[in-house]
Amino acid sequence: MSGAEKIAVKVTEIVPLNDLVTRFKFERVDGGLLPTFSGGAHTVVEMQDGDITRLNPYSLMSDPMDQTAYTISVRRDDEGRGGSLFMHTRVALGDEMVISYPVNLFSLDLRAKKHLFVAGGIGITPFMAQIKQLERFNGHWELHYACRTPALGTYGDELRAHHPNETRIYYDDQDQRINLADLLEGQPLGTHVYVCGPKGMIEWVRNTAQADGWPREAIHYEEFLAPKPGKPFEVKLAVSNKVIQVGEQESLLEAMEREGVDAPYLCRGGACGQCETSVIDYAGNFIHRDHWLDDAEHDSGEKIMPCVSRFEGKTLVLDR
């Protein structure tokens, strides 16, 4: 089986936080302790939706030192393929589920003199755990959090109450904007900036920081892409000697798993590189959506990330 090690858990708390976001708490089925983790880690939650196994990554937002339970916050996506809707509508208190061991693709750089967090919307969740980790060791941090309205400002009140001096919240409906240029300009040397939120926000922060002369290794970001639906296509798997169909609503990775082909993964969101697959032959166009391959690799037609990327055309032969 691919992916990280698995843990059997039960749902011990479900808290709707606002119109879009619900928090879930998991404890081990066997009553034991969960592994500690590092701030920024995620877990992949398995959802048994009839015949379909949905696997979605969610940032762990509880205290990394707390081994009694993990919590995640799930933002409902009505346009998505159904994972977050399943969590919101079908998961009940006491349900048993399977989650993966923590995997961290968005780790704190512990050399940083100061950690500057920029969050947008549900992108607040990894910072919740990172803030708890830094508080434990008297770390120096500051959070700038943009959200649509006060009602949708998930954890905003909690953060402001506990960390009034470190937290600044910006509401779109009140026309509040992060003044990024000034914010970056005023940071002490040795500051690292971390951004998690919508694609546009990540690019804005990365580009602004880079243009301002920030070293590349001091800029950190995380965006998990949910696989997007698209036109069905056919793919030949050369190693497994199978021809399989990828449906409109499923990813290439999911289609391989459905056909019993074991393919590696860690994030299922185009970020970790685990599922990188070589292309043996193709006639058509790739729809690359990952963060892993660079532009030249995307253009080369030699690699594809099956967790989020698709294909339109006649022939696609993969080394799986």
């Binding site: 090690e5 592994p35 061991y101 512990l110 060791f137 685990q274």
Partner: protein, 355 residues
């Protein structure tokens, strides 16, 4: 099982020895009759009973003597143990990993009692019974990494992961095969592997790094590596080359079987939970040629591997000058029969030597 600890030295009079049991469980590194680099990684999830793979951290008859030797190396050269400031949390991770593993795997030798942050650690072989506060450095006599690795066989490279690379930012390195923590500290994966021949061209390091970056909590990995050492020396550091390098010239056809040692590293890789760092324990096992020759399969195979090894590798591993003499010795133990695949001694199935 009660473990008997050898009273032995790895210097001066070299009283080091392997018991019959230690020879049978020696991690012979060649799974076939030839050798070339590969990313020979596998999961580290136990192995045959009483093999060096069985436990997360192997404790054997050399434990007490190895820890005594480590203390001597550190007394002479404190720079063998270093930790950059941002690696302290990884040190606590490592302390927890070793204490939990050893107390669970060897309950007759080690005990760990935890009441929140108040911990008590009992190490019977070394006579330690110490209470301390987890994550509070002031309650330990050394930093957390140094404290626990003064009580754990093998070297420990503690690697920070950032910027899609691994950085040698902390370590306890006293039993190394001719490399130096003080030289490598702060280097990344490609920098510290720069001196290795052939493997760069084969793309080995790019693949190995990718594998290591993806090692996850709860899923450790392992591999074997090897070299040669004249006399059972644990400390073959560049810092002390003037002491041990010259010993390579003391081999004679008469003393080679006793003096020439195959040196095998069991390398394991664990993701550390709180820091997201990676720890790379490198456990060194030594076995003299004459002890290896007591296993017919190993006798046959070692001759073929050493005979066919590319010159670059024999040079890099430091025995090119002695190779002819080694081959004269080993040839007597190669009767030309086929060997069985795999590294295990296969005493039940491998025929006795035919001469």
């Amino acid at each position: 099982m009660t473990l008997q600890f050898n009273d032995e030295t790895f210097r001066d009079d070299y009283s080091f020895f392997n018991s019959e049991r230690a020879i049978k469980r020696f991690p012979f590194p060649f799974h076939e009759d030839s050798y070339m680099y590969s990313v020979n990684m596998e999961q580290h999830r136990g192995g045959p009973v009483d093999s060096v793979y069985e436990k997360r951290f192997d404790v054997d008859e050399h434990y007490v003597s190895e820890m005594r030797d480590r203390a001597m190396v550190l007394a002479d050269d404190p720079l063998r143990c270093q930790s950059l400031p941002h690696m302290t949390l990884a040190g606590w991770d490592l302390l927890e990993l070793i204490m939990v593993s050893k107390s669970e795997d060897y309950p007759d030798l080690f005990e760990l009692h935890r009441d929140g942050d108040k911990w008590r650690w009992i190490n019977r072989p070394l006579g330690i019974d110490h209470s301390f506060t987890f994550l509070d450095e002031t309650t330990l006599p050394y930093g957390p990494m140094e404290y626990i690795t003064r009580q754990a066989q093998g070297d420990y490279a503690v690697l920070d992961q950032r910027d899609d690379n691994l950085w040698m930012d902390a370590g306890m390195i006293t039993t190394q095969a001719d490399w130096s923590l003080d030289f490598d500290i702060g280097m990344n994966f490609f920098e510290w592997h720069a001196p290795v021949p052939l493997a760069h061209e084969k793309g080995i390091f790019v693949r190995a790094l990718k594998f290591l970056l993806n090692i996850q909590q709860g899923a450790p990995a392992r591999r074997l590596n090897w070299t040669m050492t004249v006399n059972p020396l644990l400390d073959t550091s560049p810092e002390n080359y003037h002491k041990w390098g010259i010993q390579k010239t003391t081999l004679t056809p008469e003393n080679l079987g006793a003096k020439q040692h195959l040196r095998v590293e069991l390398q394991t890789f664990f993701r550390l939970p709180r820091s997201n760092a990676l720890v790379f324990p490198i456990r060194c096992y030594l076995c003299s040629f004459q002890d290896l020759m007591s296993v017919p399969k190993w006798g046959r195979r070692l001759h073929r591997v050493i005979r066919d090894l590319p010159d670059e590798l024999a040079t890099y591993k430091g025995f090119i000058d002695n190779r002819p003499m080694m081959l004269d010795y080993l040839a007597a133990f190669d009767d030309g029969l086929l060997t069985s695949p795999g590294i295990w001694p296969d005493l039940d199935t491998e025929p006795a030597l035919q001469k």
